[in-house]
Symmetry: C2
Subunit: 390 residues, 2 copies
């Protein structure tokens, strides 16, 4: 078992009747707020007005940065950081899904750097220990950004999409009202659900040598929750329990609880970030395309028992198969979940993607060395997996 | 599903090689430290010297309060609070098990009250929002105090043992090295393990109406971990994985993760506190005596499915029994775990306890109203359960 540090000071208000606590929590952090949001769905839903009314009624001064992209750009982040510096912002409030929160995190970090430019922090892999305090109002169960130490920022000039991490990037406070995700389109619900699933799965296999069975079982419980509730949320978008389960699964997947004593893995995420960087596709969809192929690629006598365990514990496969056969059925169960239950198209070619950039993407995915995990992946392995996705 | 707030800012350093981080963490909180410890086992083990050397080498000024009792007394707490006021202490560092940490929490709270007396805070059920910062070095997996918002303080003058709670009582930092529990006697290991088990079980049944299956399954995973690893730790006291699983289970049981969306229950704990208050018995042993009788007492058509689920999920009972029959077998499995696996004596009479005070104890257990839970317990119910324990 590995030594570990667990530290997640995020204060999460979860449920229907929590937003009233927003002003007092913000006032602990300061009076000048940068409100960050995306494409305007929060204006349509009325959430924007609700938040603005609350802030203004409590004498908070609000500045705004709207129009954050689904894969947030470093240029947008830098505009926000400039506003923070110019307007002496005390706290960055994200209202939206993972992209919006990630953008807010980038802003919070860049605003405390001399240059005000987020990209050097991202490109150099700086661990962010100084940032403006971040608050989040979550509208989409997916990335876990509302409770984790990570942001993913895209640079479309260089076709790069890279994670930026740091203790200072964990939000100080987050509001999770499952009702705010009722209006999410089916496709986004599906993509978000698979993002959650894969956050756990990317870690799950590496835990094979840990003896915290309790943590392994937590991971399985979170994945089971996604498998159970995602199709219900897709069919009944305003099913509160389904939305609540997905939302808390999103936070649990990356808040550190499932990492205890294990090594944090990220094979599928590393491969998918290249796809989003080159083609700006929806992250969860890219993950769904990659994951079954990855599982199939790494399946061998050594990995089969762990893969089969996933099938038994999460997809209810029978326990009496030989390990390799069971593992193969598990891969099929994962593919079935992605491409039938969640209804996501199965092939990169369906998204208009061909093999043109695969070599460059694979090389970049392994820029910091081979991808560790249940089976170490070289850039040749990554390229082969991309080809399986065509 | 209920709305909830999750907030646990405790920074936990878990593992073998973490204590070196102690000075820098304490220096964030201040330079004047009150070191609180129990009966001297930390002197025998060398831990006292290690900690003192670390603190003094880093120019921290250390004051000491040793001799904390297994059920810490309010008088001891008050002595510590007096030292804090007199010596301008910045941080209270507990080195020991749950009792020592609870005592440190009482000290931290009383030191910030005008009177310096902890008992009015305890007796009035004050939610503590101001206290000196608390740090903990854990030597015993049991109470969860290293990561929770609670302390239990005893007043032997009035035969009262009552919980004191508050956000400010969550330690700022905790060090959990499973090796420090190697030297724990078998009996203490068993009592600690059952304390953990019951922290989860006291909550488990109330979760019956929640739809966070994920949380219910987390609860079962923690209880399974206790059932699996406690006998191993008892047989092989220096089995690292066993000690690590129990220690992290201790923290997970009460750090808030298992509470999400549920109602926090405490039926057995409420009944046991009276036993410890009157007879100063070991808390976990009292819980082990009460728990199977409580389960048996509340077993009916309504509660049977949830009780039987515990038997299936935690004790591996077959799934094909009628609910009431399965629930009865579950009660036997719990009793078997307490009285055979953990080797704890089964009856109060074996501990020299008779029914003399049962009526008064039952009345006091219900002082703030009937005990809520899967079945509401009046003082007459509590008295009946005590009699079953004779």
């Amino acid at each position: 078992m590995n030594d570990f540090i667990f530290h997640n000071p995020d204060k999460v208000y979860f449920g229907k009747h929590q937003l009233e606590h927003l002003p007092k929590e913000l006032l602990k952090l300061g009076k000048r707020v940068l409100l960050v949001y995306g494409g305007g769905s929060i204006k349509k839903s009325g959430l924007y007005d609700t938040v603005m009314d609350l802030l203004q009624a409590n004498n908070l001064t609000v500045f705004e940065l709207g129009g954050v992209e689904p894969n947030p750009r470093h240029t947008t982040v830098n505009r926000g950081a400039e506003m923070c510096k110019k307007e002496n912002i005390n706290v960055v409030l994200a209202v939206g899904g993972g992209s919006t929160i990630d953008c807010a995190k980038g802003i919070a970090a860049a605003a405390c750097s001399n240059s005000g430019d987020v990209w050097p922090l991202v490109a150099d892999g700086v661990w962010v220990s100084e940032a403006l305090p971040i608050a989040a109002i979550l509208t989409n169960a997916a990335t876990g950004s509302e409770m984790d130490a990570w942001a993913v920022i895209s640079n479309m000039d260089t076709n790069e999409k890279i994670g930026l991490g740091g203790d200072a990037l964990i939000p100080k406070v987050a509001f999770e009202n499952p009702e705010l995700s009722f209006s999410l389109p089916t496709y986004q619900t599906a993509c978000g659900a698979f993002d959650i699933f894969n956050h756990v799965l990317d870690n799950y296999y590496l835990a094979g040598d840990a003896t915290f069975d309790m943590i392994l079982e937590f991971q399985e419980a979170v994945m089971r929750a996604v498998v159970k509730w995602a199709p219900i949320a897709m069919k009944e978008p305003d099913h509160y329990e389904a939305r609540a389960n997905l939302m808390w699964a999103s936070s649990m997947a990356l808040n550190g609880v499932l990492d205890a004593g294990t090594v944090h893995g990220c094979a599928c995420h590393a491969m998918e970030h290249e796809l989003s960087a080159y083609y700006d596709i929806t992250h969860g969809h890219g993950l769904a395309i990659i994951t079954p192929r990855w599982l199939s690629y790494i399946l061998n006598e050594t990995t089969a028992p762990a893969i089969y365990r996933l099938g038994i514990k999460v997809f209810g496969l029978p326990e009496n198969l030989a390990a390799v056969d069971g593992a193969k059925e598990t891969v099929e169960a994962v593919a079935d979940f992605c491409f039938h239950t969640l209804g996501l198209t199965a092939n990169l070619s369906d998204l208009g993607i061909d093999k043109k950039h695969f070599k460059a993407m694979a090389k970049h995915a392994c820029l910091n060395g081979d991808i560790t995990g249940p089976k170490t992946l070289t850039s040749a392995d990554v390229e082969a997996i991309y080809e399986m996705c065509l």
